[in-house]
């Protein structure tokens, strides 16, 4: 039993890493008032770029950095369209996903070596190695927590750090002000568009690391649609965490954990309707959304940024 639980913890953490990176990123973006539905496309693009860099250079830091850059550039497009050009954010985000999905698949068939007729599929490259923390990794039950790749450790640190940044620093206060009430924030002297640009790009870069984790560690290599819809799960996770980075871990554990449990159940041949189990996180997310909306109607704050999805323009005189 202990073995089973600790193996579930191990798989969950590994499966959850990319989700938490992207979820925290999207929380930053949404807190500033911008909804980015382009995460799926960003994660796919950064996964393919990270894998390509790792394949040709063998340098994992360069691979992760270029994935961040990819995420940053794609979200910059979203920021430009939705902030400067005031385009509809849902449509702009979806077109980033449409473009990213297509482009990633295109690159996956052209960036590979001649010998593989340009394909990246089926190649293997340098991947993130497990970093075992001596002593701690031998603990019963929670041992697997200390037997992960570096990005998983980083994401475990990122959770408290981003919570602190968002709720205990002036930058975090400004960020929340912009998403909550841009008019007031503007009157307070905060540059609304600049903050929105900044956190949309930061969000994209974090989603980029999430994408890199997929192709460099979780499922090393490149296959079309390597994300398997994770970019959409992230949108659900943001709601599930009530826009609070410290809660991002629970949603990711739920989604990741359900994957892990299912993996075990299938391996042991247990007959359970896996479909219902898979649906559960989405249904729970809808339930959470309903509950927080009702709460907010009763004037309780839940963390959902009031100005989410609405462009900001100074009143004309």
């Amino acid at each position: 039993m202990i073995l089973l639980i600790s193996s579930i913890i191990a798989i969950t953490l590994k499966a959850g890493t990319s989700l938490v990176f992207a979820t925290i990123g999207e929380i930053f973006t949404e807190k500033s008032g911008i909804l980015n539905l382009g995460i799926e496309g960003i994660m796919l693009m950064s996964a393919v770029i990270a894998f390509t860099v790792s394949y040709y250079t063998g340098n994992l830091s360069a691979a992760i950095l270029s994935a961040m850059l990819t995420g940053g550039v794609l979200s910059l497009i979203h920021a430009f369209l939705s902030i400067t050009m005031q385009a509809q954010q849902v449509v702009s985000g979806l077109s980033i996903t449409l473009f990213g999905t297509g482009m990633a698949s295109f690159l996956g068939q052209t960036l590979g070596p001649e010998t593989n007729s340009g394909y990246l599929t089926g190649l293997s490259a340098a991947r993130l190695q497990t970093l075992t923390i001596p002593g701690l990794s031998r603990l019963p039950l929670i041992g697997p927590v200390f037997n992960q790749d570096p990005l998983t450790y980083i994401v475990l640190l990122l959770i408290p750090v981003s919570w602190f940044f968002m709720y205990k620093t002036k930058h975090g206060l400004n960020l929340r002000a912009v998403g909550e009430n841009p008019q007031t924030a503007d009157a307070m002297g905060i540059n609304v568009p600049r903050i929105r640009y900044l956190y949309t790009i930061v969000g994209g870069m974090l989603a980029g690391i999430g994408g890199a984790h997929l192709s460099l560690s979780y499922t090393p290599g490149w296959t079309d649609n390597i994300t398997g819809g994770r970019g959409w799960i992230v949108i659900a996770l943001v709601i599930f965490s009530l826009w609070n980075p410290s809660r991002a871990i629970w949603g990711a554990l739920l989604f990741g954990g359900i994957n892990a449990v299912q993996f075990r159940l299938q391996a042991s041949g247990a007959d359970i309707s896996s479909t219902l189990l898979n649906m559960l996180p989405y249904l729970v997310t809808i339930a959470v959304l309903v509950i927080i909306t009702v709460w907010e109607d009763r004037k309780r704050t839940t963390g959902s940024p009031a100005a989410l999805g609405t462009p900001y323009q100074r009143e004309e005189k």
């Binding site: 369209l81 005031q86 849902v90 449409l98 999905t101 479909t275 309903v290 004309e316």
Partner: protein, 363 residues
């Protein structure tokens, strides 16, 4: 000197027409540069894409096969967007329509007279799609729950249900392990017009015409427009917003449901892999590009379908990845999104001193 946008008094028709044309040209240029960077001849690629999608009658029917679900789902999306209800769940509504229609086709043939099997399949598919959009509509109207997120989540519930059903309880026991249901009885086959292009095209065109009429020539369309533009004014004028939102969303989901029903009865004639191909997401973009005008949704859908079919054909003919089509779809959108602002705003270059005078006024 300062550059900023100023709202136009009325929206610019010239900008509305020019933006898509210029965007398409920019997309051709950008994609061309990208292709050239990969040592692929862009001119040859474009010619082959066009040939592949529209070159022969047979190719054109394949483009229509992909255009049918795009037209229908984009019409569904446009109906919801008219009210500024951001239904991004057309994918799920399509899938649920497909599942429901398959259920009728497979299991009701024993007691339904054969001539009713197909119409009932499609109607039940429409009802299922409507229901799937109705849930977020009711949540929005009664509890004010954000519809973007509920419709998105319901897509995944629908797709998971679909995966579970055709691989699970409905799987053909005589299928030698093939993941899919048995083939529908012939009475439930949607007749084909030419090649694989099926009757769904007729439905799509009829619905487009009806919606166009409803949007621009009826009181209902006027009410939708009013709710979309100014909820407060609509309420003051006695428009029942809640009822209109729910009704419009039932229609929206039903149209996407019909798309799903036509896919299963018209093409594979069984429920199997390949029902959820992302049409519902592309539809959002088509509806938006068409400025929610049902008459414009039709040609835009055919163009977008042409990019997909053309992409497939350059893969076969030249070994250029078929994802090209999707890349081009994305590349059209960026300049269009950026350009859409010019229909409602115009660029104003002002000298700094006007800012100062504004600041003085503010004091």
């Amino acid at each position: 000197m300062r550059i900023h946008f100023k709202k136009r008094k009325s929206y610019s028709a010239a900008a509305a027409v020019l933006t898509p044309v210029i965007s398409f040209i920019i997309s051709l240029l950008l994609t061309g540069i990208m292709l050239a960077a990969f040592d692929i001849n862009p001119f040859k690629t474009y010619t082959n894409m066009f040939q592949g999608a529209f070159g022969t009658w047979r190719d054109f029917t394949e483009t229509l096969v992909k255009a049918i679900p795009l037209i229908l789902t984009s019409l569904g999306v446009a109906t919801a967007f008219k009210l500024k209800f951001w239904n991004i769940g057309a994918e799920g509504q399509l899938v649920l329509g497909g599942i429901a229609a398959s259920g009728v086709a497979l299991f009701w043939s024993s007691w339904l007279p054969p001539f009713l099997l197909l119409p009932v399949s499609i109607l039940v598919g429409a009802a299922a799609g409507g229901l799937w959009a109705g849930v977020p509509a009711i949540l929005k109207v009664k509890l004010n729950v954000d519809e973007t997120l509920t419709t998105l989540m319901l897509n995944y519930v629908a797709i998971l249900a679909y995966d579970g059903i055709y691989c699970g309880p409905w799987r053909d026991p005589n299928g030698y392990g093939f993941p899919g249901t048995a083939q529908f009885p012939a009475a439930a086959w949607l007749p084909r017009l030419s090649g694989r292009a099926h009757m769904g095209l007729i439905f799509a065109l009829i619905i487009a015409a009806l919606l166009w009429f409803a949007f621009y020539r009826t009181k209902w369309g006027f009410e939708l427009q009013m709710i979309g533009q100014n909820k407060k004014a609509a309420r003051v004028l006695g428009v029942n917003i809640g009822r209109n939102v729910i009704l419009a969303l039932l229609v929206s989901g039903a149209i996407s449901g019909i798309a799903g029903a036509c896919e299963v009865t018209g093409i594979a004639r069984r429920l199997q892999q390949g029902l959820s191909l992302g049409y519902g997401y592309t539809a959002i973009i088509i509806a938006w590009m068409s400025r929610l005008n049902p008459a414009v949704c039709v040609p835009v859908s055919i163009l977008m379908a042409g990019l997909l079919v053309g992409g497939d054909s350059v893969q076969i003919m030249m070994g250029v990845p078929s994802a090209m089509g999707k890349v081009m779809q994305g590349m059209i959108l960026f300049p269009m999104l950026a350009g859409s602002i010019f229909t409602e705003y115009r660029l104003v270059v002002s000298r700094r001193n006007t800012d100062i005078s504004e600041a003085e006024v503010a004091k």
